[in-house]
Amino acid sequence: MSTIRAGLVRPYADHTDDGIVQLSFTLPVQDSARATRAAIELCRCIGMVNPDIAHQQALVDGYTYFVIYARCVEGVEIPEQDEAGEFDYMSRQQVDDLLAGLGRPVRVIGAGTGTDTHSLGIDAMLNLKGFHGEPGLEAYKSFDVINLGSQVPNERLLALAVERDADAILVSQTVSQQNLHVQNLTQLVDMVEAEGLRDRLLLVCGGPRISPELARELGFDQGFSTGTYPNHLASYLATEIMRRRGTP
């Protein structure tokens, strides 16, 4: 097994530095020896060597499904700490204590925008019940929460944010197809900017396909992905709102 330069990392499966990954994909090729060779060639092209085809199955004429274990030859450096993307998470009590300095509750308004019917993301963050035992923002003394649920048009979300003088807009994007979530998010930022409200509102998005990098690229202040708990979101909101207010 080839080793890689010190300081680089690659996937771990069984032994340090083995680089083993699992791939699963469908090729639009009739199930055949040619399909197998095409899958192996594809692995090689993307830097996956020693492919081991664990499963190969015809789905329908002309389409073959593969599950392959292979070794990733590339390694990467662990990226530098991203100051804007990482912060110390606080407990609910700590968040409430920090925001007590504001003298009023922080008004947040949240919704799943676009036409996806899933409300689990926004519900997990905002509803009293929260997520995996971590209560949502409604449980905090320091937040005043409006949860509009799913399928909310950006127009309605923004209009209500203005009407209620919200401090932050939280947008959830769960199921997406053909990058529709990016369109929904970009449209909201454009609308907020067109209304001249960008400096007044903290814009935060979340969902399985959202990363802090993507969020900031789209013009949001922060983005949260899978694995986020309500107190992570609350910590960010509290820290950022107090920072903007000039309180350390």
Binding site: T26, L59, V60, T115, D116, L120, H132, V175
Partner: protein, 518 residues
């Protein structure tokens, strides 16, 4: 079937209360019509296609009559007179109206009764033709045979009908029983049915007549190849609910999702509009023997199933009696339920088992439809597949008639082509492995499963008492279903509701109830 001992008086009481709810609502429904019902009448009379601006002809004609303040007589009144005056058929009349060449309300009144007879004759003729085509399909279906319960109901939702057909091929090969063409998101809010083949929908493919036809041809071809029937389903819902029911009949669909409550709660469609639409769409589906699936499963995504289970039972009874009132027989009413309890709840499997068994036992004649876990599925496909395996087990062990297949990509992507095949592999394994499990089991009378079923039923009786006292519309306003409140004066589509004139005429209302086509 392994039965649990539930109080027959409570069941009888549920039926009595739900009958009252349906009857009270029936009085509101029967003296009104809607734009979409009138467009359905035209579709039933054979009007199809769109003008050069892609506006469906049925919209042209109904808007034309509506603008002249005459829709309360029923569009059939005016088309009948025009037929009598011009000697043209409904399609030609619609085309003339769309070109601005004919004013339907300036037709001769003296001929009213002759015109009505003319339309009625046409209507009978059309129903006979449609009925014959469906009867032929049914006999082919019986000949070729089909899968056994629980039938695997699989969604396709690529947004491109040609891609959908590839996915359907994979489902057919992997043993799926029912293909459901998921509509593009938000089609339910369109007050017209788009035309033509869809190649760029989001979250689904438009329910259009051309898409239905293409999918129907594909499912029939795959059925012939594999030697067993493949059912086709779509969504008779939204603002065009009854029109889609008619299109389904015309194109030979077998099954339709059909529940006004979904549109009211989750699409903000006006309750009056959609409850009236639902009635006519069910009369259509009932006549032609098309199974409808109701959407109680959706409530469990917006309320905790441990709290919301009684509202599911309550709605199942109401849907059952509304459907019956619309002319459907119980064998066509697939009341809905779902496996949505938070997996971190201890004994969640037992509670799911209890809910599933209760539904099955309350509606023995209905082809109950059971939905997989979605709400707590977080994108970890292995975890979702494990949850789906328990769901599959409960489906088989409690004798569900139709089960929607849960896919590992739930909560992240609309399913990729391999996801459905993986899912069908899982359900087929469980179906085989646990085939006769239900006959082996008896339940402790004081155990968790039986106690839970009794509690849910008791709470459902109490909820039905409230709903029967206040009426379904007030109950929706109170937020009794899915935790969502909607007002009867709000929501989309109310401007498409019309009180019937005393001379209102729709020949299909009575003809469709004269006896089933198949």
């Amino acid at each position: 079937m392994n039965a649990i001992n539930i109080d027959p008086h409570a069941v009888e009481k549920c039926h009595r209360l739900a009958t009252k709810v349906a009857d009270d609502l029936g009085n509101m429904i029967e003296c009104r019509t809607t734009d979409s019902i009138e467009r359905s009448v035209l579709r039933l009379l054979g009007v199809e296609g769109a003008c050069s601006l892609d506006i469906p002809l049925v919209n042209h004609v109904v808007d034309h009559v509506k603008e002249r303040g005459s829709l309360s007589h029923g569009v059939a009144t005016w088309v009948g007179r025009a037929m009598h005056d011009t000697g043209l058929d409904a399609q030609k009349i619609a085309e003339a109206v769309s070109r601005g060449e004919l004013d339907l309300t300036k037709t001769s009144e003296s001929s009213a009764s002759v015109a009505a007879e003319l339309i009625e004759k046409q209507a009978r003729q059309r129903l006979r033709e449609l009925g014959r085509a469906i009867a032929e399909r049914r006999s082919w279906r019986a000949e070729i045979g089909e899968g056994t319960a629980p039938l695997a109901y699989v969604l396709t939702a690529t947004g491109n009908v040609h891609e959908d057909i590839r996915h359907v091929g994979a489902v057919a090969r992997a043993g799926g029983d029912i293909i459901a063409l998921i509509r593009s998101t938000a089609q339910s809010l369109l007050d017209y049915v788009p035309e033509g083949l869809t190649t760029e929908g989001y979250g689904g493919t438009y329910a259009t007549q051309a898409n239905f036809r293409a999918l129907r041809a594909a499912t029939d071809e795959f059925a012939r190849q594999r030697g067993s029937y493949l059912q086709l389903s779509s969504f008779s819902s939204g603002l065009c609910m009854p029109e889609i029911a008619v299109m389904g009949v015309i194109e030979g669909l077998d099954n339709m999702v059909n529940d006004a409550m979904y549109g009211i709660l989750y699409r903000d469609i006006n309750m009056t509009r959609t409850l009236i639409d639902q009635n006519f769409s069910r009369t259509v589906s009932g006549h032609f023997g098309i199974v409808i699936n109701t959407g109680e499963d959706n409530f469990l995504r917006t309320v905790d199933p441990m709290d919301g289970a009684p509202s599911v039972v309550c709605s199942q009874f109401i849907n059952y009696h509304l459907a019956k009132r619309s002319g459907m027989t119980p064998n066509l009413v697939a009341v809905g339920n779902a496996f949505e309890i938070d997996p971190s709840v201890p004994n969640s499997l037992l509670y799911e088992w209890s809910h599933a068994l209760l539904t099955r036992q309350l509606f023995p004649e209905c082809p109950v439809k059971y939905m997989p876990p979605t709400k707590h599925m977080n994108g970890d496909g292995y975890r979702t597949h494990a949850a789906d395996t328990l769901f599959n087990l409960v489906s088989v062990a409690t004798g569900q008639a139709i089960q929607t297949i849960g896919v590992p990509s739930e909560g992240t992507y609309t399913p990729h082509i391999q996801d459905r095949v993986i899912a069908l592999g899982g359900s087929s394994y469980v179906r085989t492995a646990a085939r006769d499990l239900s006959r082996e089991l008896t339940f402790r009378p004081d155990g968790i499963i039986v106690t839970r079923a009794r509690t849910v039923l008791q709470q459902a009786v109490e909820e039905l008492e409230r709903v029967a006292a206040e009426g379904l519309e007030s109950a929706i306003e109170r937020g009794a279903f899915g935790g969502v409140r909607r007002k009867r004066s709000e929501g989309r589509g109310l401007d498409g509701v019309h009180l019937k004139h005393k001379d209102y005429f729709n020949p299909f209302e009575s003809l469709l109830r004269e006896g089933a086509a198949v």
